[in-house]
Symmetry: C4
Subunit: 278 residues, 4 copies
Amino acid sequence: MGNQRQNDWKSKIHEVIYGTHTPAGKLFDIALLIVIVYSVIIVMLESVPRIDQKYHDFLNVSEWIVTILFTIEYILRIICIKTPKKYIFSFFGVIDFISTIPKYLSVIIGGSQYMTAFRALRLLRIFRILKLVRFIGESNNLLRALKASRTKIFVFVFFVLILSVMLGTIMYLVEGPEHGFNSIPHSVYWTIVTLTTVGYGDISPETGLGQFIATIIMIVGYGVIAVPTGIVSAEYVTDRSRRKGKKVKERTCPECSTIILKEDAHYCRVCGFRLKDE
Amino acid sequence: MGNQRQNDWKSKIHEVIYGTHTPAGKLFDIALLIVIVYSVIIVMLESVPRIDQKYHDFLNVSEWIVTILFTIEYILRIICIKTPKKYIFSFFGVIDFISTIPKYLSVIIGGSQYMTAFRALRLLRIFRILKLVRFIGESNNLLRALKASRTKIFVFVFFVLILSVMLGTIMYLVEGPEHGFNSIPHSVYWTIVTLTTVGYGDISPETGLGQFIATIIMIVGYGVIAVPTGIVSAEYVTDRSRRKGKKVKERTCPECSTIILKEDAHYCRVCGFRLKDE
Amino acid sequence: MGNQRQNDWKSKIHEVIYGTHTPAGKLFDIALLIVIVYSVIIVMLESVPRIDQKYHDFLNVSEWIVTILFTIEYILRIICIKTPKKYIFSFFGVIDFISTIPKYLSVIIGGSQYMTAFRALRLLRIFRILKLVRFIGESNNLLRALKASRTKIFVFVFFVLILSVMLGTIMYLVEGPEHGFNSIPHSVYWTIVTLTTVGYGDISPETGLGQFIATIIMIVGYGVIAVPTGIVSAEYVTDRSRRKGKKVKERTCPECSTIILKEDAHYCRVCGFRLKDE
Amino acid sequence: MGNQRQNDWKSKIHEVIYGTHTPAGKLFDIALLIVIVYSVIIVMLESVPRIDQKYHDFLNVSEWIVTILFTIEYILRIICIKTPKKYIFSFFGVIDFISTIPKYLSVIIGGSQYMTAFRALRLLRIFRILKLVRFIGESNNLLRALKASRTKIFVFVFFVLILSVMLGTIMYLVEGPEHGFNSIPHSVYWTIVTLTTVGYGDISPETGLGQFIATIIMIVGYGVIAVPTGIVSAEYVTDRSRRKGKKVKERTCPECSTIILKEDAHYCRVCGFRLKDE
């Protein structure tokens, strides 16, 4: 009986934490969302030296409160679920753990000189923001379009990489270390910066030939940028029309249950049954 | 009777100011367009120190004339409309007010030392240019396509932001303040500059690992740029074909339910039934 | 009779210069193409101080030869055409004139000190390259797609300009002349550099707020870049399918000449004539 | 008989080297892939001065081993193929040769002072990576879409080049050598950097007029970027739907010529005729 009461208590918490349809569940999700964004902002502000100097104590206390809240949430999630293992080793279970532990680690391992190194670990807590993905939902067909064009995008990226290595090598030979192209990897980095039209300008060709080759790389990049766009667009349009196609008023043959899509069909194409005109 | 005469006078002005179909209304709109562009150019030139020194008086007088013209226009708009409240609190009513008042404020609050700060307020007058939107009309289906893909673009921007925060944190850990990545917010700023292929080059990775990660970010950004393009393209194509589809009046053959799309059809193309002319 | 012989001579030259279908006409066009490219390269090289110093005489003589060739061509074009006026004031007639005259002007108006200024005029000869457009032909439907989306692109560019003026003003107020945003026009220039993802980095935001706003501008630009691409893509797809639609095997009703597109039509939809099955 | 045994031996090696379907052939291809990537990484690392100083001997020995492996592979490829000429002068045959020979050349031609120049030749070995293309296969319709839009992209690139030469000349006249626009070729380089939205910022307009023209160039580039994307997208969508169309086996009803697309149709949907099962 005490066991059942405990189960009641657990299932209630489960409903609040994991559920999203009850008012309490919704409230919890929104509160969690706010706390996550707040904690991300705090971690970001803490890295700004000027702000950290002024508000160090406030930021530190804030972080401790958030960490404790996250710890309680993490423990509750484990307690109220039937198979804790499944949660702990799930994608979000691991993220929840990773975003809670660094703050504790920074305390246990003392010594101010090591601390600075371990503070970096705390920054990993930013991954908690991945929790936000939960709120996006899977209703969007964006990911489907990206998934469908996965192979093509891989081939494309692979091709861009080969192109970059070759063009990078040529530019290294043409410009050389005296114009900032220190090594082939550095030169490949420059090529990708150029091909993707980012163009920092930290390195830029200085010889006439180098600028000429750079010009060709840019125009190639300009043409090449069309390819992934074309792929995703095509995939997306196809996906839309396919799904829209399904919406078309369907009839089913009363004799053999075949789905009749053609609107001008008089006879079932499978059994030859005469369809009633609608 | 005096009331009626007044109403006649009001309705005439209303026709000129708000109307766009009468010759006078058209002339007014074009004149207003020119004055707005002129005033925007003056505000812009006034901010150029070299030009302001030379032509200060001319620019100042010009601005006063424009401001007075706008004030008269604003008052006439309020007078000649039936429900002034509706105009005053409308989008363009607020913009008209905001683009007129700063010049007056700069006079009332004297003292040359404060003036410099308040001159900035006058720059808000630039928002008057929003009035130009009126001339674009709502006939374009660009906004419709953008509106239809609103949710997807929001999800996309949200995803880009999460990605930027995480990549920015990683780059902060890798490069650190000694290579210009002063703080996480600064690092996130750099990530967005890179992801969007803007690439100022005010900050750029200097370590090998940093450049390697930057390379990945760029290629991701390169692939990611395809997504909003694909969405808007698809939405735009769909919108076009949907509207085109709507324009065609469909009829169905009363004999065999075939859908008749051709507007010049007198007979059903499937069963030869004579269609009634509509 | 002498008149007729002259006409024969004229019509032959006309065939070579204006015609593109005879072997002689083709040869002339290719030779002209090569001379144009050569002259453009010479003008470009002449502007490089190091090359000009070394090969000044060669470049100068080359240019004179090209100029004389172009002059002869220009005169022949006028002589052998029926209505010289039509050619002279045509697009290419004006370009032909503009690309020939600066070299002569540089001689007539002596004085080495003025020469340097007039040499600039000679650079306009580069416009001769526009002649190359002739070889592209009008068979491509690129221009048609661009033409069809002309209005939408104009509205788009107009909207981008309004956005740039407003965002530029805000950035001027936020960053100010002390961070390189010297004036509103300069600030608008920066905004367009950012919105179009060019990102020179000659000016870049330095305050936190400025970088935050810049981030928003970039993401807006990222989303906005999709719009013209979407427009042109849609227009281009539509144009293709429209033209392809025409290729579909058409039948004509033998009774009333109506074009029958539907492949499953048994009866002419206009006159009810029973179509023969093919 | 000894000849036949030799042939057996040859055909087995041929199966391993050229074949990709047997387990041994697959293993060989994967091993080759790894060795190629390894050798490319070594060539790249060797160009980094800091790494070369530390691990010079290791890198040198590694390269010799890889070179010898590639030599053996090259010789085996020639031996076990029926018509060695065909391989040697094929695309990959030439690449295989080019990626093996530079290392040997660096030894034969002694003298440390010449070595530095010839080391560059060794870098051409990077082209071996092109072998990787083999693994991509021709199943992707990316290349087909690119091939189909070849002419249009050429016209486009040609047009961009003409535009760049003209805009570059104008910018040279406006900005001049005193603002970094040293010569017309340099100015054309800047124009392409801007048009393609790369924007290094190594040169950037400094005069007001120059910045105004730059602004126009950017907006043009912004609009122009849509064109290749539109072309490739359209070509890609068309290619998809065409190939999809081809896959569906069409039948026509012998009774009424209706096109039967559904593969499971036993009866014509228009006249009810029993279709023969294929």
